[in-house]
Symmetry: C2
DNA sequence: ACTCATATAGGAATATCTCCTAAATATTCG
DNA sequence: CGAATATTTAGGAGATATTCCTATATGAGT
């Protein structure tokens, strides 16, 4: 797996040691792509393969991985810090479509904001290097249900 | 002040009682527009005018005001929940430009994402009603300093 | 003013996350 | 390989933001 090699390479590069704890935490985030696991969930999953790991190590490692730009922190305002793997474009994140009805979280494309960022540079003289974008609204499924209910009511 | 009348009206409408605690909390958020105060800061400011208020009441009230869509919660991932007043367009929020160098937070315009939301509706069949957008990068001031340093080094 | 549902104060409880320290371990070098 | 050493870890204590609990207080309708 080339992701793991990259992981090892970046560790070396920054002078950090390769430990099985770090590898397991990273692997759990990689294996659960799209899940947006929180720290505790990651801790539980790592424990299945590496029961002796401590919770502080998981927190430390997640912070380290984030600093190394191998994972991203996401915040869905539910009291947990959540994480996802960094893919392809390391600089620009994908956005999330959060349904206010069913709570589903869908991932969007990551290159929608290019023109807006140019506009921000021109207008605000602010050089954007990354963004965190959440769209709230109604997903396809819920929209259809709401439409149907509307028809029934009239 | 028409904001306070609106506040009173929405309270009545939803069957909530008008209390001086609620008024003071709301006023503090209104008076500190652009500041993004956290719950504790709001608590301290309210105490200056209303010393007997309890911290739980402030938290309860902030949640209530958010539910009433009179204030918005913002998250700058510093461990505090922060709040800002809702202005003009109740449905669409402004975005924030966060400088990675000096930590400054500048507010952006709130109508940049219209075309993107149309695209999301077409592509993802997701009806956007609101968004939370943070841009990370470098502010005008820091960009200039960085440019100058670059020149010095070469 | 009386009634009563709602709201509050204050402190206890919860929960996420961080800090501390002795022991363990990865890496380097001979 | 084995020793030296700086880093990392486990586990528990600690920190701190937020919520819960309950007796008391209060707003609003009559
Ligand atoms: Mn995601
Ligand atoms: Mn703002
Ligand atoms: Zn939905
Ligand atoms: Zn700056």
């Amino acid at each position: 797996m080339s992701v793991l090699k990259e992981f090892n390479r970046v560790l070396k590069e920054k002078g950090y040691k390769f430990t099985s704890q770090r590898q397991h935490v990273f692997e759990v985030v990689v294996e659960n792509d799209g899940e947006h696991l929180n720290s505790q969930e990651i801790y539980e999953l790592v424990r299945k393969k590496y029961p002796e790991i401590g919770v502080a190590t998981v927190y430390r490692t997640l912070a380290l991985l984030e600093e190394m730009k191998l994972i991203y922190g996401v915040d869905f305002e539910d009291g947990f810090r959540r994480y996802e793997i960094v893919k392809d474009d390391k600089e620009h994140r994908h956005h999330h479509l959060i349904c206010l009805e069913c709570g589903s979280i869908k991932e969007g494309e990551n290159d929608l904001l290019g023109t807006i960022e140019e506009e921000i540079l021109r207008k605000d003289k602010f050089k954007v290097t990354n963004h965190k974008v959440k769209f709230y609204g109604y997903c396809d499924k819920c929209l259809k249900i709401m439409e149907k209910n509307n028809k029934t009511h009239t």
